[in-house]
Symmetry: C3
Subunit: 439 residues, 3 copies
Amino acid sequence: MNKGKESSEMSELGTEMGSLIEELFPICRSITGDGVRETLSIIKQHIPITIHEVKSGTKVFDWEIPDEWNIRDAYVEDEQGNRVIDFKKSNLHVVGYSVPVDKWVTLAELQEHLHSLPDQPNAIPYVTSYYKKRWGFCIAHKDRLNLKDGKYRVVIDSTLEPGSLTYGEYIIPGETEEEVFLSTYICHPSMANNELSGPVVATFIARWLQSNPRKYTYRLVFIPETIGSLTYLSKHLDTLRKQVVVGFNLSCLGDDKAYSYKTSRYGNTMADKIARNVLSFVDPNYVKYPFLGGGSDERQYCSPGVDLPLVTLCRSKYGHYPEYHTSLDNLDFVSEKGLSGGYNLVRNCIFAIEHNKTYQGICIGEPQLGKRGLYPDVSTKTSGGSVETMMDFIAYADGTNDLLDISEIIHKPVWEIVPIAERLYDAGLIKEVKGSYHE
Amino acid sequence: MNKGKESSEMSELGTEMGSLIEELFPICRSITGDGVRETLSIIKQHIPITIHEVKSGTKVFDWEIPDEWNIRDAYVEDEQGNRVIDFKKSNLHVVGYSVPVDKWVTLAELQEHLHSLPDQPNAIPYVTSYYKKRWGFCIAHKDRLNLKDGKYRVVIDSTLEPGSLTYGEYIIPGETEEEVFLSTYICHPSMANNELSGPVVATFIARWLQSNPRKYTYRLVFIPETIGSLTYLSKHLDTLRKQVVVGFNLSCLGDDKAYSYKTSRYGNTMADKIARNVLSFVDPNYVKYPFLGGGSDERQYCSPGVDLPLVTLCRSKYGHYPEYHTSLDNLDFVSEKGLSGGYNLVRNCIFAIEHNKTYQGICIGEPQLGKRGLYPDVSTKTSGGSVETMMDFIAYADGTNDLLDISEIIHKPVWEIVPIAERLYDAGLIKEVKGSYHE
Amino acid sequence: MNKGKESSEMSELGTEMGSLIEELFPICRSITGDGVRETLSIIKQHIPITIHEVKSGTKVFDWEIPDEWNIRDAYVEDEQGNRVIDFKKSNLHVVGYSVPVDKWVTLAELQEHLHSLPDQPNAIPYVTSYYKKRWGFCIAHKDRLNLKDGKYRVVIDSTLEPGSLTYGEYIIPGETEEEVFLSTYICHPSMANNELSGPVVATFIARWLQSNPRKYTYRLVFIPETIGSLTYLSKHLDTLRKQVVVGFNLSCLGDDKAYSYKTSRYGNTMADKIARNVLSFVDPNYVKYPFLGGGSDERQYCSPGVDLPLVTLCRSKYGHYPEYHTSLDNLDFVSEKGLSGGYNLVRNCIFAIEHNKTYQGICIGEPQLGKRGLYPDVSTKTSGGSVETMMDFIAYADGTNDLLDISEIIHKPVWEIVPIAERLYDAGLIKEVKGSYHE
């Protein structure tokens, strides 16, 4: 784990997140099975999630929960008994959801079941086959080229049988039933940025939320991707559509190369507004990805008829860094500093949600700040600068803009505006009016 | 006729269009007269147009159909009997609508009746005087400079007498009374891009339309510019306003230098939407001309109170190439390849109109494409690419976007999206809903 | 006074404006007091303004009119009797609203009451302390560095006592009660661009208005900044909100470096539309300043609940040139040419307001301009250019666009369009329809 450079304040949290990611890394997760259960039980040591099981065969909209897959061992052995591929060295070596096999094959036959990346010869690719029964192995391309003619014993000690899909849920009640929805996935084997950074940041955000006062109710889910979000939606669609005011899918939050988000389907929800606003101050060079072109669970949460106000928050987004979906997305790719940055991004978004209000001024014309000690009492050429933000805030706090709108108009982050709003509110110069939290 | 380079598929059509343009080129057309009739009778050998005559003096909104002009010969002869200007060599030599004359004039007098282009010394300009009685000749500037002092006999053997304005019309019925309106003009003497490319492409589009199934009714008119479109509008305004869903004015479609379109008055009609969309895929460097600054019949079709949903489709647009309105806009300026490109542009626009529908998905959440054989059953790092267009289509087929909207959103041409829509429709995953064809 | 280069037409007016600015320059103005009265009495020699007095202590929204300040003399004398700072040399030397003082102080004590600008060592800064009682002097930084240890006699012969706030008002009735509101301020001591250019341009605009026919009623006010505009608003809020259709705050109109305007709060009023339009033709490089970041009386006129349709017109805007609020903003900084440009900007805006109408064409299709002598009767390759503006005007004079809209669409200034509209109106081709003057 690369510790990176980090302010002392965040370094303790960064270290804790780093420890959790290291503990979860070796587990072989998939969309079902004991790897998911073990992962959730470790997370449960940090926050009191509820673990749910949904039976194989259950109908989930257009889908069906598949059989449960578990794997104990897998290897390819040559005639001399050398293990040329060994699941115990990396759980990426086996194609996810491979059916059991134990037989001798020729190299030619073996090749038909191998996956490698000629352009990344040192990387073991990550490959799955959830919905068609097959078996296969993944291997670094440089090692594949070294395979000699001959016979190989292929062994996959797996089971694919009726069982259940497992997910975790944690609801932290707030003052109101309106909800902030946080979703992250726990279905990938040993890869660090995509995916462990997501559940780890979510865990520590939950720990912070539960020990602080909050207006909104927070609903966190730790689910397998796609089939998990569909499953969760199928059980809670009406509630989510009614209660969720903002949602974030958390993924790829552990490196320190970039900040980004992926919009909702039309890019026009409250979640888009918050992500755009917070990211513009966190990193002016942040990347905005369109909804197009493949994706993660936001595909389900934002699908027609579901339409939750949700975006995906990322640092280096899945599919946009070369280590993605290979053995190179490992503990060296993420850092404590990177995780802290991802954590802070989510916290700043939550700060913006929690403090977003619509204010209206009470005076006609500008108020006289000076008599309330809010204005410098001597006017020089440069004295204006320090109160300009306050005056600009007052100009646009006209009952039509929420704090995010004002932040966009006056180019100041919400966390600088909130203290100003509170001073003006305490001085009796503004009042709160009813505003909508939907964009 | 420059044959250009052309795929074999289109080359036969290109050759046919090239032959027709060569046949029509020598005819001396004007806004009235036998040149128009001869042109229409040749077109009638290809498609069954109806030829209409409207009498001189007929009121047409703020205008009146002028007397009919016919010309047999015209020349300027020096004292030695040399024809220094000869209509038989180029019909551009005589100013359109010149009244008859036969007299001897000095060079000085002659000069007052000559038109030439000092900046294009080899080009005979195209000049007309429809609504004021005068006579005149057009001459290459280099030849004008060679005229010697002396007397010249000027002869214009023309008639300008009550007669009629002639136009052609062809209505190809479809499943619905809603119409696609195609207009092109047939009032210019020997010039190839502006104007013969328009009627030639229109003729071959009509031939294709009449032998293929179609949803819309197609109304094609071959008219003299301005007075002809006003005449047609004055007879059919209510019908056109009620039935036309998309219109295209076809002009300057024969060169291979550019693709362009000229917007409707506010650039916000279904025709604009189709032209923008199709051109963006046909030629990303296409030129969008504003409605401003002179024009063709779209000036009438889009005028206030008429407001047909219509744009002008061009390759190198009138007024934007130096050969325009001179003898250099000849058979060398256009090519079979250029005509084929113009023809294909119009066909692609018609494809877009005919196939434009609004679909809505049937599933909640994304459908499971895999079980229907629409998705690769093994998920590798790059397997997403091939189905992304399908998934993106499904995301935006939500009952609010027609195929053109989706095409714009997902950056794929309509002709790539239509087969996807048909596969998904056949698989029962989307249904058609009522959408509007007006932007 | 720099005369600049100027067309002969404007040079007489420029000279007159230059003379007035020179006459007003030496007066020591503040937000109250005899300097304001003297300034207004000089302006009254040019235009018949009414002078109003509002008593100290009067409540003005959240504010209260302060005591009146007058000053006769002020200086700092060293032990040898040398005046090291002398109000008689520059009235900027004394902090505005300084309370009276006459005592000996050490240099250290004196320093606590001095203001200078290390970055502009030759400039005396302009400093005020309206709402907190203190005294102080302003000095060029290079002179401050030369002050020697020792005792200094500080004398400020001022009074700060109940009195009144003074402002001037001039209402020029028009055909309608709808008003154009012009506001400028007269509260700064000897500075030329900010502020005297504003009242001087306003005075000459008023002189021009009163001797020309006009549709709108014009309301001009000459007021102290902030407290003056609040005072005026508090007395006339309902009338202004009901009657003002366009307002301009006039300030910094005397240099020849730039043209600019500062938008209304949301940049969407008729005043913004006019300023944008006129400036785009006056100077394509004009600067558009946002409402943000401190300002002048537009802060009050555009505040929530007041919301007059008003922008501030400037050449080099306050706060955006280094001489601002120092002794360097003197008679050398402005020029007769600069003032003439500022004057013309305001006149062009008024021309646009006065002539802005909504027209609708009468014909269906384009009218035949030729038979009315409005079109060249011979059509050559280039004859189109000269009538294109007329045809473009007709296309967009469809009852939905006012002249400013058409100006934006066809990229021609209102002063080129108005004569065209008048010719077409006289020819019976367009009629006037009711349009709104609010954007």
